[in-house]
Assembly symmetry: C2
Homo-oligomer: 430 residues x 2
């Protein structure tokens, strides 16, 4: 496999960071082990990273990962083993599991993700069925996937406080649906365990809460290995009460943009980075790269045209954007055949089971690669993130992927802390 | 990789057993998950299996596995991930670990096992050094292995109640030494955690205790999937106060042999097996296939010549044999290029991380393949034991290896129960 190339001129500092991580590996793993003892990690998770050569940071942490099909099939055993550990920890007594997928899409790639996830769980010894919330599916429906796999979507029913299908009464419900439009009544007050908890959905979750938790994690980690936390942590701030269509709350966004750009400029000066700073403005709740834009000056926010306003006003399934997060943009300086590449790391429990690159030819190095209608090419990591080699040359894929796995686990830890906090707030512990 | 061939005429029943196991997979994994919640599994373990076509059973459970180098290198990530889980469970706070290898051998294959084990633990984020008990090693000694790896053996010292090397103070001591000659004083009353516990060594351990625990496990498991426990469990009994040189206690051995042969004959008749029953007489404590013989009639025990008596009288490092286990012999009907093959399954914590075949041309299907001076050829499993396929044809390697992984985990569970019992007896909980 061709490994994405890291623009040479900028690779110095990141190789320093990578070397720092490789050298501190025993301390890092020891520290992480202790974290996993004190925090309950999400069942599964994917993290979008950005590697700018001078900075390596998470930009999005997804608690309903939808790209298991993009992982290297050779890592299937690793996924199965991690799944066994996850099930043991979270629902040891479960035997029958009902997977609830996204309703908004019958995208073939997403369906392949479901098939892969189902295969992983089956190999881990679970009876797993896929129950859809789509009202138009009223009988078990078989979908033939291109690789010959048959996926069966079954209509779900509510029986008292249990979610069932016609002939399947699951012990646990696994969500692969991010609940962007809220928690549908059929999922409320179930007596079965729901994984991840409902509050991990975008009806409750806020990116700014995640990155607030990540601030804390990054600070501790940076202290542990003796680096500037900024090298692994993008600046951010949030603004509430926004209405893009009615031009409400724009001042907050514009001034926040300018403040963050100012802070980035100072850091760029400190590290001798010559690029133009930029920020990403995105919906604080939501996903799929909708309601998102790249900005290089606060005035751009005020000068949005109607089309841009409409684009920012809603995310998936028409959910209104009222809160916005402004986040330091991290350039992606990884590229392959001149196409921009962004690593995505997959975890089951706290185990890094693999990753892939989102490769996109039509996008710039300062743009979001997970955009609506985006046709990225997934490029599976050929190596796992588990075999760093202190003796190998810096920047080799084994070491780079290990560093990615470390930063992804920091984001996972932040997600764990974030869910603990929202759990306290809602009085929920599951 | 060529997968060992299973003699066709006899493969019917084992394929039935295999099919039973594959079909019951969710129940099996669910049951095992519950077992791992209630029992503390050994840190690592290897299990020698025998597949006779009509029967699949463990014949030896090693708590100090010495063949990690024989596993498929592609499964390294699986080993690392399982090691992370094991360390987390048993010694989460450990960062520095001292590995104590066997002293009796500087066999190159064994040293490669140490190097592989060290690599696995390093990748799991531990600082791991190898401290030898060999008195002739007085300074750190580097050994160059054929694959270019350098292994450093360091002399160990006792500092108060800590085992250290000159510049390394470990948090934990990992034994890869089976303590056949007893627990050396330098390892007694350490304040560091010792993994596995000292009582897992052959100074304390008895095969008959292990197989007594296995009886119980096999019975429960057989009930779970609805099979005759005999299909996965060899008959056995033990005799004490034996002295082969002085012909003491032979009557017990001879009559036990005949009783077991009688029981096997009944089972063979029940299942229509036409082979000659045989038993294995072996030292109840000890390893390395010394003090072991194949017997087809009790009278053979009384008729041993002097050379045979001497061979049975001692095991590794001159340890006297005073207790003997008589175990139903299980034919190995797996062969490759007409050489006899015996599967060995490796586990870290309760995760099956791989396996290999011991292939031996010079040995019969009713002989022990792990004999002194034996030069077996290891043949790594090409597939993991984690990807059974209900749709695949019975007997394919994925399903066969999964079945092996299941039976090996039963032996692991028996080892856990055995150590719990001996722990209660000695008042030790570690």
């Amino acid at each position: 496999m061709p490994v994405p190339h890291l623009a040479a001129a900028r690779s110095g500092p990141i190789i320093d960071l990578e070397r720092c991580i490789i050298n501190a590996m025993p301390s890092i793993e020891h520290w992480l082990r202790n974290q996993w003892q004190t925090h309950t990690v999400p069942f599964y998770c994917s993290v979008d990273l950005r590697n700018s050569g001078f900075k390596l940071a998470p930009v999005d942490t997804n608690l309903f990962p939808g790209g298991f099909n993009n992982l290297n099939p050779e890592f299937m055993p690793l996924c199965v083993q991690a799944m066994m550990a996850a099930v043991e920890k979270i629902c040891a007594d479960a035997r029958n599991v009902l997977l609830i997928p996204e309703s908004h899409t019958r995208n073939i790639f997403y369906l392949q993700n479901l098939a892969t996830l189902q295969a992983i769980m089956r190999h881990a010894g679970l009876n797993i069925r896929i129950g859809t919330l789509l009202p138009e599916i009223t009988t078990p429906t078989t979908i033939d996937l291109p690789d010959g796999v048959k996926l069966i979507l079954e209509p779900v029913q509510r029986k008292g406080n249990r979610l069932v299908t016609e002939d399947f009464d699951p012990c646990a419900v696994l969500l692969n649906n991010d609940l962007s439009t809220g928690v549908p009544p059929i999922l409320q007050n179930l007596e079965q365990i729901i994984i991840p908890p409902l509050r991990a959905g975008w009806a409750t979750r806020r990116k700014s809460q995640h990155f607030a938790a990540y601030d804390n994690v990054a600070l501790q980690f940076a202290g542990l290995i003796g680096i500037d936390p900024w090298l692994i942590n993008p600046y951010f701030a949030s603004c509430g009460k926004i209405n893009f269509r009615e031009k409400k709350g724009e001042d907050c966004v514009a001034s926040t943009v300018d403040e963050i750009l100012h802070d980035i400029r100072e850091k760029y000066a400190e590290y001798g980075v010559r690029e133009d700073p930029f920020v990403i403005v995105k919906a604080d709740a939501g996903t799929y790269g909708m309601g998102i834009m790249t900005v290089k000056d606060g005035s751009e926010v005020r000068a949005l045209n109607r089309r841009q306003r409409n684009k920012m006003a809603v995310v998936k399934e028409g959910l209104q954007v009222t809160e916005v997060m402004v986040q330091e943009g991290v350039y992606t300086f990884e590229s392959i055949n001149e196409a921009v590449a962004e690593p995505v790391i997959y975890m089951i429990d706290h185990y890094v089971v693999g990753g892939f690159y989102r490769v996109h030819t039509g996008r710039g190095i300062d743009e979001n690669l997970n955009a609506p209608g985006m046709q990225f090419v997934p490029l599976a990591f050929e190596d796992t993130c588990l075999l760093p080699d202190r003796e190998a040359r810096p920047g080799c894929s084994a070491n780079r992927f290990y560093a990615y796995g470390v930063i992804a686990r920091l984001a996972l830890l932040a997600a764990a802390q974030e869910l603990e906090k929202t759990g306290e707030r809602t009085g929920s512990t599951v």
